[in-house]
Symmetry: D2
Subunit: 244 residues, 4 copies
Amino acid sequence: MIKVTVWNEYRHEKLNETVAQIYPNGMHHTIAEALQTSGFQVHTAVLDDPEHGLTEAVLRETDVLVWWGHIAHDEVSDAIVERVQRRVLDGMGLIVLHSGHFSKIFKVLMGTTCSLRWREADEKERIWTVNPSHPIAQGIPEQFVLPQEEMYGEFFDIPEPAELVFVSWFQGGEVFRSGCTFRRGRGKIFYFRPGHETYATYHNPHVQRIITNAAAWAAPSPELVVPREHQGPWPSFEPVPGGK
Amino acid sequence: MIKVTVWNEYRHEKLNETVAQIYPNGMHHTIAEALQTSGFQVHTAVLDDPEHGLTEAVLRETDVLVWWGHIAHDEVSDAIVERVQRRVLDGMGLIVLHSGHFSKIFKVLMGTTCSLRWREADEKERIWTVNPSHPIAQGIPEQFVLPQEEMYGEFFDIPEPAELVFVSWFQGGEVFRSGCTFRRGRGKIFYFRPGHETYATYHNPHVQRIITNAAAWAAPSPELVVPREHQGPWPSFEPVPGGK
Amino acid sequence: MIKVTVWNEYRHEKLNETVAQIYPNGMHHTIAEALQTSGFQVHTAVLDDPEHGLTEAVLRETDVLVWWGHIAHDEVSDAIVERVQRRVLDGMGLIVLHSGHFSKIFKVLMGTTCSLRWREADEKERIWTVNPSHPIAQGIPEQFVLPQEEMYGEFFDIPEPAELVFVSWFQGGEVFRSGCTFRRGRGKIFYFRPGHETYATYHNPHVQRIITNAAAWAAPSPELVVPREHQGPWPSFEPVPGGK
Amino acid sequence: MIKVTVWNEYRHEKLNETVAQIYPNGMHHTIAEALQTSGFQVHTAVLDDPEHGLTEAVLRETDVLVWWGHIAHDEVSDAIVERVQRRVLDGMGLIVLHSGHFSKIFKVLMGTTCSLRWREADEKERIWTVNPSHPIAQGIPEQFVLPQEEMYGEFFDIPEPAELVFVSWFQGGEVFRSGCTFRRGRGKIFYFRPGHETYATYHNPHVQRIITNAAAWAAPSPELVVPREHQGPWPSFEPVPGGK
């Protein structure tokens, strides 16, 4: 059984009544429920937990980490970012949602500014599948609509994704690479654009399916080989003339 | 005229007589001469210069930065690494040589450990061209030999390269992805494996040609568009029903 | 001086008065003029020329071939398609425009159906640059508008591009991967979406700049190495114990 | 249960006693047994069957096709190649083994010559994992040895793989991109180098594991969306001013 930890900044829900009404127990609970229903073993953690809920013990028991953050990226401790990065490089999957594009953990894994354009205007987003046979696109129609979302537009300053799975169209005239995969070390990463806190996006069944597909895709194999300690100095297999 | 800054840690040449004999004025001078001969405007900088020779003024006048470091990666100041990273994301090319795989600047741009296997055994390296039409491979034969080099072996913990240009074969039984391109922000990056300090690798005409090809390839266009300040909040092109 | 051959089916211009008014000498002439102005040596060829104007002699003198076809793909002889394919694999650049997505030459090089959605509705297309440092994007703004174009929509059945340079937004709700690079053999290929015959698209300066940028990018190096005859049986460099 | 059809040219086994001793019932039987043991439902087909054993009915019941051919590529009918290609583009997985690099089906899907260097010299091949978290590499050590194999060397004239999973080292001095993934249409393709008929390669447990991993990876999802008939003319979602 794949173990997923859903991490949420969990601030908007306490500060903004609109958000609280959409996600009474926090976005992490809505996402966690969708994952549980699909057969994952789910744990949640939030910024204000001790060590942000991301202790060594929790990460050891996490196959895939889902990340939502927005207004408090700076409050995430550098030491814990480094701990999460190390786990990703060792094989833990990572799903970064929406405004998580500016989280410390996403930026250190990408190496870029991760900046983009944005506009809050209650506008329509249409999400297109451009890689229909990708595991993350299974069961997802060729396009679906989120009736109201925040706009994110190009240029999205990320390294060219390993695979581009979804592209968004926005009513106001923009496009966005909305579903992108990356590999870092032994870890698989999926960035997924939708999910502004004032909309019911994480209640959408297609969005839920994409997140559960991504969790299955990103989970490390139990037989992952090449542990990190094998790196470094190394003897030779073949005789090397003149070799020391 | 493309402006290249060749940066060298410049320690081995002062500490080790073998290295000093091969590179009497430092590896940076040998590399700089090859670039000058090919028509680049070249500047050099070393670790022990003030600000490591990488002041804002120097970087502003640098189209492509070549980086060689090994035993003193930790002495490079974090502030200057961040300054170089910003310039790369804004369009400056970066060529990382050999043991520079473990430099701070390469690691922050890759997001991974950048670890690998290695062995010093005076062994033969044969470099194969696997992308013969790539600009960096122009004038390079299908394979060439470095009679004595340090071995670098897989797994090389980097993100999957945008393009794989060269693969090395080693006498002792290993292979290595030796010529890899990446894009970060508006900047182009080339990692090139060879160049252990105790061998005359940077005197090799094929190695020099690859570095000069890479400098031409990595130089930013004078017409580079989408300045960073365009990122952020953005008005809409089309009327957005309900838009604020 | 880079030698470009602009190939046009050249049928719509003779059959449809609207097209004839926009392109009195054929689309190939409009495109050829733009290339000439930018310093390329340009030749044109059309379907009804003997051997479609693509004799061995013409191809031998062609660094980059530009292709526009639509209603007469089937009239292109298989033998000439094979001849063009062979030249691309040996290093000739190929720029495929708009409805050329269904040309025989594009389909044999891609291996897929190259199908897509489409709609003729005089609608607005906005082209976004998603790879601003790519040579093909130089001098191109972050987005530009074609006020009336045919819509092309996803899923576009091509292999995942080597590099994605442009993405289109359409008024009617679709997105499209509009600027895609591929490598096949030693040849570079660029597919560029716009250019329905009833619109003045090839008079647009941004479109012209993209095509000239692409021609410069796709031209083979004069020092292209690894001729095809080196392929096949091969002696060894190293002694092989037990080797025959 | 994933349904795999293992296709073999099945000629060497009848013509050459060495091959017959290694594979008394043909290579397809050895490969089929490994797949059955791992829980796949397996069918076999050979060149001399009617329609090469690849009838519409057989392909309809095939999730993944494994292909081994060598001396009789030309005897495979073009009509059946086209039928197999259509099935791949509609989602069937394809695993192409060793000399299948020159099969008609691989060449039409790649669009290139698929040529390479080769040498039969009973030499050692060491296969390195360069993408350890890829599903096809699960359970495979960081490197393993085939004590005697035919050499295949670069330049291997294929499009740049979507993912590079394995790289081979050969005793005689060459390297080769030995495990490569591609996507064409909705179908996933894996090329795997080893398997010269005069060696016991398909009895090797690592080779068997790689083939079974690849079959699991290449199998289409039961929920594959975007059927081909959705391609073509298309209405709009949004009102298009001036739209017809």
